[in-house]
Amino acid sequence: MTLLAFCYLAVGFFAVAFVHRAWAIASMPVHLRWELAPVPHEASKAHYGGSYLEEYEWWTKPREKSLVSEGIYMFKEIVLLRGVWEHNPRMWTFSFPFHFGIYLLVAMAGCAFLAAWGLPLFGSLARMLAILGYCLGCLGTAGLLYMRLADPKLSAFTTPATCFNLLFLFLVFSTGAYSVFGLADFTGELAKLMKAFFTIDTTVALPAAARIHVVAAAAFLVYLPFTHMLHFLAKYFTYHEIRWNDEPMTAGSAMEAEVKALLSQPVEWAAPHIGADGKKNWVDVATQEVQK
């Protein structure tokens, strides 16, 4: 019962914290345009970084926006860590196994869930994914920890929290690896736990090794929203809302109404040339004549 309760708490906490952080970012005000090439939804131009601004009188032309092209770009970024591969191949050697390990384990959890509802094929798949996922995770985190401590390029930026994060993750992966190799049917045990989770079956019991792993993983889930490791969420915004947000302003749009409201806020910047007094708003300050 305590294990299950902890799982509910952890998952519930993570869900709430995740939504909270996502909302905190999403509800920030509209910003000035700050796009950055390449913008992959520019279907025929994205491959060289081009944009609709290349078109003569672009406002008279239909915008071509391809979600497929965006999807392919994101797949490479998220699954293959393309950016790290291109710009930091040494780190990719460990970062890729680590991230890919996480993805495999998420897939493993999905398979275990399906297995729990009587689809045994997914049970074997879950086991394969678990073996691979935990091993890659251990390799990746150990390698990253080593790099962050030993590589002088990285170590100047390494803080106690960086090491703690990676050690914590290593604990999660290693207890998982221990369970998958040490127990007769670890993924079966996980399937049991998942079924109990969704049916609120408080009688579920797991072997000690699996229990330890589940507690570690659930604790990590609680810890995650307090850290920058939620970057997969942030990345959605840095890409879709900033780099790829090339939406021109249109009269009468919701964005126009929002900007008008933002412009009516008082300005407090203190430098004399700004001429703000905490009462004048953005429009007042920006239309103020400079003394000649």
């Binding site: 060289y48 009188e57 929290a161 900033i242 964005m255 806020q265 910047w269 203190a270 920006a286």
Partner: protein, 536 residues
Amino acid sequence: MTHRLKIEDFGRNPDRPLTQIDLEDLVPLPPPYDQAAALPKWKELTKEAKERFACNLDGVVALGLPKPKDAAEEQATVDRFVSGLKKLLTKENNWTFLQPLVLSLEYCAKCQSCNDSCPIYTASGSNDLYRPTYRSEVWRRLVHKYLKPGGALLARLKHGDIDLNWTTVSRLYELCYRCTMCRRCAQACPMGVDNGLITHELRKLFSQELGWAPKELHERGTQLQLKVGSSTGMNPEVVKDNIQFIDEEFAEESGLDATTPWDQEDADVLLIHNAGEIMSWPENPAAFAIILNAAGIKWTLTSDEPSYDGVNYGLFYDDFQLARIALKHAGTAKKLRAKKVLMGECGHQHKVMMTISDRILLGDLSIRRESCIPLLERIVFGGKIKFDPSKNNFPVTLHDPCNITRNLGIIEPQRRILRYLCPQFREMAPHGAENYCCGGGSGFAVMSGNNFGDWRKAIASRVKFKQVLEAFRDCAGPEVKKYVCAPCSNCKGAFRDMLEYYGAKEKSSIIYGGLVELIVNAMVGLKKPFIKWEEE
């Protein structure tokens, strides 16, 4: 020599620079530019400058920040800095960039994937101080330690330590002017963190809260433009006189119509040049006039202050100065009922008018705004003007201004023009959206105070210069005349200084110029070649 720096070092050892630059460490250039000793000596800082100004970063002084008189002044500065730091993170005072800034604050993975994409860091021989992440991390630690709840201990464990004192503030100010905000690092970031933006925001903090900004950008830049009409100091009469002189001179030389219409209402095109062109590269406005007239476009320049100057240095350091100038530019277009505003060959003007101010030019100020490049492409391929590309039969390479390519994605039209009109056109590597900055970005092209000009030419422009040499590798010697096409005034300023510093005109016969000059040079019916190799 390696320059290992910790972030904690930033507020320590106030009396000596954090790092020293040794020219031998810089990334090597191909011969005949491979001897550091053969390059011009850097300007020595005068004893007086060293005594008066903060010189505690890298031995270079771009800004000439006076040292504080006493401890009270130091503390007051630190307090104002903290107050600015807070404002930067509020919706009321900084809605313009809040979301991108907060994301860049909170989600850097410290993976350093961006480092090698920075031309300044690369050129310096990997000096830690110039890593795109170094400045950002100093700022990040300051925010976490001094603004966020949780206390100094938690901040130290989670984000690392930093001291906040006058040394930190003055070094950070100077360090904001060691980045051209080219945003190559942002392209490399797997998280979408933007170190160029952080530089931009820090510069804003210094300007908008402390009133600190480089003289070249503020007093002699935006302020002068708002007072007199142009950062060149030209008032409307002088501009009109100068353009008239240019029109006459180039009409005479070219045998073509170079007349400039002024203040025409209802024109199809209101062309706005960077006024620096009129002063330093008069052939550029002349070439525009020749092309637009030959193509039969109904166009005009304006003598409205400050709209005859497309410069808007506000982009580099101050949102309010930016808005003030952008609003006036749009106001002129509205007054003249222009169908659209056309950006001349000026990268930052493109970015300010086309995207940055897009969301603040509301109502009747939201005049259509367009780059000159698509129109030039249309004209070149439109058939109305006849061209003879053999007139441009010399090696040409294209420099991509960051603001036009990486930031706006205008990449192919200029290439289609060059591929057609310049038989020996060749690309630099890398190019297009992945280009390297010329080293003059973010206002550097007009900043040369103390020994900053030397730093800029030797370091900020170095990777670009190397790229140019590599593009002309097959015809490296001085016997072959070569042209770098740089369709941006600031970039041209950087090329002028860079080519002179390295002696590239003499050693390699490399000159630079804009795009329109090459177009006119290829026009059939031109009396004399438009590109003059000797005068450059």
